[in-house]
């Protein structure tokens, strides 16, 4: 009998989402195969993309080997972002840490102005994360959406506590939402169902929360893997969104990463690679050398196929 290669064809397609406008655009998602299943029917039109994280304030805890590549620009977010562009990123991820009531409690207006200035000055698409404080984000993120109306930013985290107000602003001003839920597939779906009652699913990216190596990475891995399987195999409309893995900060919070540089790069690199293998579509890192390491590992076209 002749041997026939088994080839699966799946029903679901991850929605292709464009971020940014004009020259500064980026596409994520669009695949109808499971991660790295190039042997199956279907394709991966947009291999995973990488962003570096920039903070809107000088970090209070300055791990030397983490911030050394940026020199003195870490006190100036715009310069910091520009420096990141030199490291071959696909996007910049700005975290509005200063707006956190536990940090400087910077008002929404001021934060939004900075975002607008960054949009104007950088050449890459922009991802904007609020501080994660649900109440403060409900003020800050709608303001950012409004001031940057039409710039098609990727904005989050949109959480179950604030999805109505943040989601509405994202809809009104033409951006894409990062829907974030606490590492639980049922809560993840619930948030998407509620959000997509008024926001088209083509404007939603999933942030399932990314735990670092040794700090729950197995939760994140199996969750991302499962979201992809349910979207692609069973065609569940509410999980067919691209996934963002915002892992840099989680990694550099660990004792191991802070200890020394090699360990830090490997900690962030292994976490990124694992979540890439699980199916993340865009990954946010902190250290430019990790970015280089990960890109070398997965190859020039981002598909592990050289």
């Amino acid at each position: 009998m002749e041997y026939k290669e088994p080839r699966e064809a799946y029903k679901g397609v991850i929605r292709e989402i464009t971020i940014g406008k004009g020259e500064k655009t980026l596409k994520i998602g669009g695949e109808n195969i499971l991660p790295l299943h190039f042997f199956d029917e279907g394709s991966l039109p947009n291999p995973p993309k990488f962003a570096l994280e920039v903070l809107d304030m000088e970090p209070t805890e300055k791990t030397p080997h983490l911030y050394e590549p940026f020199g003195d620009v870490i006190s100036d977010p715009i310069k910091w972002a520009k420096k990141c562009e030199g490291f071959g990123v696909d996007a910049i991820c700005l975290t509005l840490l200063s707006t956190d009531p536990a940090e400087k409690d910077v008002p929404a207006d001021e934060a939004a102005q900075l975002v607008k200035q960054m949009v104007n000055e950088i050449k890459k698409p922009l991802i904007v994360y609020g501080s994660g404080d649900e109440k403060k984000d409900a003020e800050v993120l709608p303001k950012v959406a409004q001031v940057c109306s039409g710039d098609n930013l990727l904005i989050g985290p949109v959480q179950k506590e604030n999805f109505e107000v943040v989601g509405k602003a994202i809809l009104d001003h033409g951006h894409v939402a990062i829907a974030q839920s606490p590492l639980d597939i049922n809560l993840l779906k619930e948030l998407n169902v509620k959000l997509c009652k008024f926001l088209p699913p083509e404007r939603v990216v999933i942030d399932p929360l990314s735990s670092a190596l040794g700090y729950g990475i197995e939760y994140s891995f199996s969750l991302i893997e499962r979201v992809k399987q349910i979207g692609i195999i069973t065609k569940d409309s509410m999980t067919m969104m691209p996934i963002i893995a915002n892992l840099g900060d989680e990694c550099w919070k660990t004792k191991q990463a802070k200890e020394n540089k090699t360990q830090g790069l490997l900690w962030e690199g292994i976490t990124a690679l694992s979540l890439y293998l699980a199916g993340a579509n865009i990954l946010v890192l902190k250290h430019p050398e990790t970015l280089k390491l990960v890109k070398e590992t997965i190859g020039g076209n981002g598909t592990c196929q050289n």
């Binding site: 993840l188 779906k189 619930e190 169902v193 509620k194 349910i230």
Partner: protein, 295 residues
């Protein structure tokens, strides 16, 4: 289907207070209500009952027997409380429950023999809950044959596959489907045994107002495969209507969903749509979320 009324349960604050204060009225009205609504047994879930065991069990059992004429299900993990309860039952009681755990085999199963009563035996073992249908079957066959050796016939054994919440991170749905399969094949592997489930556990952790529809739908599904009894809430009128075989249209919709039919929802009433969506979730045809009726 035999319904074992679940409402006398120490986790309910008013019940535990009533037992502590010997407030017969609270307990008796719960028992009467359940009986009036069609319960066939009254479950007395007393928890571990470490204090004044003998005396409390005697009071509780007699208190219920004074007002209802139904057999009781004595529900505790504590063999001392179990024996105290069984001793005072006038009608042939149900020992709820034993399992394949060593302690249970050596302490609970002999009580079932001694008091010549029916006994619930769950699939649990010393290693915990068997993860797959096959391992559950394996475990229950072993425990049942142990019980047979003690002189307990299959006809007196009510097998419990252990129902878990459908809402737990994906696994719950897989287990819900597995338990249907378990009930379906049970008679082939252990002819003559009866079966039971703790029905409401399927909706544990789900927002309170959404729990009943999960319980009812799952009962209809289990009933299709020959489930003999369920520990459930007889005060849920709609659940009891299903038990009496009413609502044939909805039952049919649930069955068709189970068979994988793509049912057109557009001509259906809101209520019918809700049952179809719930059956889809319980068959793991679509990922569970608390918003399952809103999709």
């Amino acid at each position: 289907m035999i319904i074992i009324g679940e409402n006398i349960h120490v986790i309910a604050k008013d019940v535990s207070t009533a037992i502590r204060e010997r407030n017969a009225q609270v307990i008796q009205s719960l028992a009467k209500e359940q009986a009036q609504n069609g319960a066939n047994y009254i479950d007395l879930n007393v928890g571990p009952m470490k204090k004044d065991t003998e005396e409390t069990m005697k009071w509780l059992v007699n208190c219920v027997q004074e007002v209802v004429d139904l057999p009781l299900s004595i529900d505790t993990m504590n063999p001392v409380a179990m024996e105290a309860g069984l001793k005072y039952c006038k009608k042939r009681p149900l020992l709820n429950s034993a399992s394949g755990k060593t302690d249970s085999k050596t302490q609970m199963l002999p009580l079932a023999k001694k008091y010549n009563c029916d006994v619930v035996i769950s699939v649990m073992t010393d290693k915990g809950m068997p993860p797959e249908v096959e391992s559950k079957i394996e475990s229950i066959m072993e425990t049942v044959s142990y019980a047979n050796e003690l002189g307990i016939p299959n006809e007196d054994i009510w097998v419990d596959p252990i129902i878990l919440p459908v809402s737990t991170a994906g696994e719950g749905q897989r287990i819900a489907v597995g338990n249907l399969e378990f009930i379906k094949i049970l008679q082939d592997v252990l002819p003559g045994v009866k079966s039971t489930v703790g029905l409401s556990n399927v909706s544990n952790g789900v927002p309170a107002h959404l729990r009943p529809i999960l319980n009812r739908t799952y009962l209809v599904m289990l009933n299709r495969y020959g489930l003999y009894s369920a520990i459930a809430d007889p005060l849920d009128e709609e659940l009891m209507a299903f038990v009496r075989g009413e609502n044939p249209e909805i039952t049919d919709l649930i069955y068709r969903t189970m068979d994988g039919e793509e049912i057109d929802l557009s001509p259906l009433s809101q209520k019918e749509v809700a049952y179809v969506k719930t059956a889809r979730v319980l068959m793991a045809q679509t990922l569970y979320s608390d918003a399952w009726l809103e999709v």
